[in-house]
Symmetry: D2
Amino acid sequence: MTDSLFEYGFTLRLHDTDAAGVIYFARLMQRAHEAYEAFLDANGLPLADLIAQGPALPLVHAEADFLAPIRLGQALRVRLQAAEIGRSSFTLEYLFVDLQDRPLARARTVHVALAAGNGTPIDLPQALRTALDGAVIR
Amino acid sequence: MTDSLFEYGFTLRLHDTDAAGVIYFARLMQRAHEAYEAFLDANGLPLADLIAQGPALPLVHAEADFLAPIRLGQALRVRLQAAEIGRSSFTLEYLFVDLQDRPLARARTVHVALAAGNGTPIDLPQALRTALDGAVIR
Amino acid sequence: MTDSLFEYGFTLRLHDTDAAGVIYFARLMQRAHEAYEAFLDANGLPLADLIAQGPALPLVHAEADFLAPIRLGQALRVRLQAAEIGRSSFTLEYLFVDLQDRPLARARTVHVALAAGNGTPIDLPQALRTALDGAVIR
Amino acid sequence: MTDSLFEYGFTLRLHDTDAAGVIYFARLMQRAHEAYEAFLDANGLPLADLIAQGPALPLVHAEADFLAPIRLGQALRVRLQAAEIGRSSFTLEYLFVDLQDRPLARARTVHVALAAGNGTPIDLPQALRTALDGAVIR
C-alpha cells in the first residue's frame, strides 16, 4: 500500500465484544465510522463542523464482511480509501487488518450530501472532495 | 410495592453483554435510561419534546450497584421511582429484578433543569414535576 | 404481508441516536439483531442456548440501507424474514417501518453454522431450520 | 499531578454522542473502562488474559459526575488512579479533562476478585496488586 491511504489504529475493547467472546458485529461498523471521523480530522474537516455548518452527510448504506474472529485486546489497523466519489455522494471502504497484516474484516459506507432544508442532494463541498481525492488508490 | 411505581421490562440482548459472558456494566446504565424515557412517554412528556423545547435536563450524576450476574436472554423488570424532587433537580432510582423478583442491580440518576441560553438552573417544568410526584413511594 | 412473518417492535431511545439528531447507523444493525434474538426466543431457541451448546453461528455479512431519517422517540416495527436457507448458512432480511407502514430502513444479515473445534461449516441444526422455514415468504 | 499516574487520551466520537448534542452519559463510563483496559495493557496484564485465566474481576459499583458538556470531536485525557486497594477489591478513580486541563467529568469503579467456581471473594493477584500500587497518588 502507498502513503496516500489513511490508516487508523485501535485496540478492541471490552465494550466491542459480546457474550459469544468476539466482536459484536455492529461495533465493527462503529470502528469504521471512527476511522472516517479520524480521516476527516486529519484533513481539517472535523465532523462536528460538518454537522454544525452543513451540508448534512447522512449515511445511506453500510455493509461489512467478517473474515476472521476479532478478539478482546487485539490491536487492529483500519485502512480507509475512497472507492467512489460522485457529484453528491461518496463511498468509503475500510479494510481491518491485524498487526501481521492479515485481513479480518471489510466494511463499506455510502454517504450523500443533502441540503439542510429540503433534503435534496447537493454537490459535495470542495474541501471534502479534495480530502476524498487524496484517499483514492490509483 | 404499590401500583404507583413505574415498571419497565426488557430482555437482555447480545449487545448488552461482553466477552466476560455477562452484562457490560455501562449497558445497565443505558437500560436505566430507557426506563426513564419510557416513564416520560407514559406521562405524555416524550424526551424528544423536552430536548426540542427545553429546558435542557442534563444528567449530572449516575451510579449503579451490581448485585448478581445478569446474563444474555434474561428477562428483567426495572422499577423506577423518584427519590428526590427539588426546585430544579430530581433523582431517580432504578431497581432491576428478575422474574422471581430477585434484585440484580440498582441504579440512580440525578438530573438538573438548565436554561437553554446560559446554563443557569431553572424550575422544573410543572408537567414534569407532576409526573415525578406520581413516582414517589410514600 | 402475511401472518407467517415475525414482527418486532421498539421505540428509538436516546442511546440509539447521535449528535446529528437521528439514529446512529450502527444502532440500526443492533436493533436488527435484537429482532433476530426475539425471533429465536419466539421459536424456543434462545441465543444463549445456541452460544452455550453450539454450533457457533457467526455473522459473516451485514448490511443496511437507510431510506428516511429515524428519530428519537419514534415507534418502529421490524419485519423479519428468512431470505435464503442453505445447508450451513442462512440470510435474514429486516424491513423497518413506522406505525403508518412507511419503510424507513432495510437490513440483511448472513449467518454460518460452524463446528466449535475447527470452524468448519456444518449443517444448520434441525430446530433452527424449522424456525427459519416458518419465516420464509412464499 | 505526578508522572506516576496513568493517562489515557481519546477523541469523542459520534457514537459517544446523542440527540441532545453532547456525550451520552453511559459512554463516559465506557470510556473510563477503556482507560482501565489500557492501564492493564500498560502493566502487562491484558483484560483478555484475566478473563481467560481468572480470577473474575466483576465491577460491583460504578459512578460518574458530569461537570461540563462534552462535545463531538473534543480531545480528552483520562487520569486514572487507584483510590483504594483492599484484600480482594480495588477502587479506581478517573478524572476527565480537556486539553486545557479543565475537569469535565469524574468517574469511579469498584472491582472485586471472585473465585471462578463459587463466587467467593479471593485475594487480588499479586501482579495486579503491584500494578495498582503504582497508580496510587501518595
